[in-house]
């Protein structure tokens, strides 16, 4: 497969929250593309619609008009049920606040996407163990996530996002709850383990310290994509 395929197409998407005077036009006709194999960042001022766009692409938020196609699935024509199945199969999530379930062990947290996809417990735990090794946290599987540092928790979250080998990894502010060094290391890990042929990693961030990890940047403002550019600090020549 050609890694440069445009695997995500967004055309003219609008989304308005609320009605009448209280209406907020969060997306005002967004056009956006992402390619297979790339780590794409979405940046822009607070409130410009980054999270909203990310939610739309991930199939967690309905939109008012426009078209969204992700790996050939047309989200604008899918039912809630289909969207749920789509998310389970194709999307890995990494959140700002990790969103690990504190009452479950690290290992159990990582198995969740597999269990949702109907994988048996034994196999899920084996695969989760291997994945924890991969994110260098193999020894902490039996602990509660709350015993881990922020950086370690985000590693667990990365393991959870990758365990079911989704084609799209969605990250909203993955480093903003972490200090600079930890954030750097988490991004190093993410860009090394998450990237793969045909797989797309989309990172929404404010954090200019991690801009250098992006292959491309999409700049948003006021509900629209303003500019897309290759990251000058990265060469795409290899692809």
């Amino acid at each position: 497969m050609n890694g440069l395929d445009r695997v995500i197409h967004v055309r003219g998407v609008t989304k308005t929250f609320g009605k009448g005077d209280a209406a907020v036009h969060a997306l005002k006709g967004v056009d956006f593309d992402a390619r297979g194999g790339e780590l794409l960042m979405i940046v822009g001022p607070s409130g410009c619609g980054k999270t909203t766009l990310l939610s739309v692409i991930a199939g967690t938020l309905g939109f008012d008009s426009g078209e969204v196609e992700v790996f050939g699935h047309s989200l604008h024509t899918m039912s809630q049920k289909q969207l749920t199945a789509f998310r389970a199969g194709h999307i890995g999530f990494i959140f700002q606040s990790f969103n690990l379930i504190p009452t479950l062990s690290v290992l159990e947290n990582v198995t969740v996407p597999l269990l949702i996809n109907g994988v048996g417990l034994k196999e899920a735990e084996d695969r989760a163990r291997a994945m924890l090794e991969k994110v260098n946290i193999g020894k902490r599987g039996d602990e509660r996530p709350t015993n881990l540092s922020g950086g370690q928790q985000q590693r667990v979250a990365i393991a959870r996002a990758l365990i079911h080998e989704p084609r799209l990894i969605i990250c909203d502010e993955p480093t903003s709850a972490l200090d600079k060094d930890t954030g750097q290391r988490v991004m190093e890990l993410l860009s090394s383990v998450a990237r793969g042929p045909g797989r797309c990693v989309i990172v929404v961030t404010h954090d200019n310290r991690i801009f250098n990890f992006a292959d491309r940047m999409t700049e948003m403002d006021d509900g629209r994509v303003q500019r897309v550019h290759e990251n000058p600090s990265k060469s795409m020549a290899g692809h």
Binding site: F93, N99, I101, L115
Partner: protein, 379 residues
């Protein structure tokens, strides 16, 4: 996923214990109060269990076995003459005072049996023979009499001992076992004639006529004949029991007060469990949101929540049932309050607990279902 759902619940110790207590309390209250209620109902039928006869003939105004309106002695022969009646015998039943050695009195229930047939005789003799009742002044006492009337004596009442009833001496020729009855007083048996000696003399002394259907007649048919031909009341043993229970439902506040407690137990269960479970769901709403984002369907999450609710429900029910059986067993050992546990009772409270679980989880499930998965990206 279900296993993890349960782990989430068990890991929240405080809520888990609260939920268990709520469910256990509801189950305990419902089963326990139900048990005491059934026990009381059983007690009301005490006379019918301790004096057995196929047909009971009473004054037409009598609707239940604990109430006596004396009939004329001649009524016995009237009943005997009815076609369909094999035999009919008189019985005396009344509450008398028996004297303790210290001079105080205790109420007892005196039963006078027909001299010839001893119909209605004690069902379980521990010592002695029923026939010895024909000896003058003889009585057979039950184990409760032994307990109640032995107060102040060097050793408990036994065979050959005497005590006074209504200033007349009674000599013990036997000891029997009886079922508890509504008044809770001990039973003392004598012959009918002897009972008339013990009891204060009144114009009419005949409490019941006990009868049996003739060959080829059912008890029902014979009882109907008696009613039609004599104008007296006549019940089969079973019908008298039913009529007694019905009377208690109609004429006493007992059933209503127990029903109220049982319904209260149910409401408390719903309130405590519902409240706790709802706050458990709310606290975990974020995580349920994350699960939804990761592709867990509403159906899966609903089933997880139901499983959580029903698991605590069933464990709590087990604890509650265990406790009420234990307490009931203690009651029975102490002799009161009454307690009985027909299988319908634990079954009923099990269904009630399942209902509580359903109500308790409904609110939470509603919250989870209407949750937008996109919330996980916010704060």
């Amino acid at each position: 996923m279900y296993r993890l759902g349960l782990k989430m619940l068990f890991a929240d110790r405080a809520k888990y214990i609260m939920l268990l207590s709520g469910m256990a309390f509801a189950a305990l209250l419902m089963t326990q109060q139900g048990g005491v209620f059934v026990g009381i109902i059983e007690w009301t039928k005490g006379n019918l269990k301790n004096m057995r006869a196929p047909i009971w003939v009473v004054d037409p105004k009598v609707e239940q076995v604990n109430e006596v309106k004396p009939m004329r002695d001649t009524d016995v022969s009237r009943v005997r003459s009815i076609p369909g009646v094999a035999w009919a015998v008189p019985m005396y039943w009344g509450i008398l005072q028996a004297r303790l050695v210290d001079g105080t009195f205790k109420p007892i229930q005196l039963v006078g049996l027909d001299n010839a047939t001893m119909v209605g005789r004690p069902t379980k003799m521990i010592e002695g023979r029923v026939e010895d009742l024909r000896i003058p002044n003889a009585v057979i006492i039950d184990d409760l009499t032994v307990k109640r009337l032995s107060v102040g004596r060097a050793k408990p009442l036994g065979m050959g001992d005497t005590f006074e009833m209504n200033d007349k001496e009674a000599r013990i020729v036997g000891i029997c076992q009886t079922e508890k009855s509504f008044f809770g007083y001990p039973y003392i048996f004598s012959t009918y004639e002897q009972a008339l000696q013990f009891a204060p003399r009144t114009r009419k002394m005949l409490s019941y006529i006990l009868a049996s259907p003739a060959e080829g007649w059912t008890a029902d048919q014979a009882a109907q004949q008696i009613r039609e031909k004599t104008g007296l009341g006549a019940y089969t043993e079973e019908a008298f029991g039913e009529s007694t229970v019905k009377w208690f439902f109609k004429n006493t506040g007992i059933p209503i007060s127990f029903m109220t407690t049982i319904i209260l137990g149910f409401i408390v269960g719903v309130a405590v469990a519902g409240q706790t479970f709802y706050s458990f769901i709310l606290e975990n709403l974020r995580h349920f949101g994350a699960l939804k984002a990761m592709g867990a369907s509403d159906g899966l999450i609903t089933r997880m929540v139901l499983l959580q609710a029903f698991t605590v429900g069933i464990i709590g029910y087990g604890i509650g049932l265990g406790l009420s059986v234990f307490i009931g067993w203690k009651f029975i050992q102490m002799g009161q309050p009454p307690f009985a546990l027909p299988y319908q009772l634990p079954l009923g409270s099990f269904v009630a607990v399942l209902l509580i679980c359903t109500f308790a989880s409904l609110l939470g499930i509603r919250q989870v279902r209407k949750l937008e998965p996109a919330v996980v990206f916010r704060g």
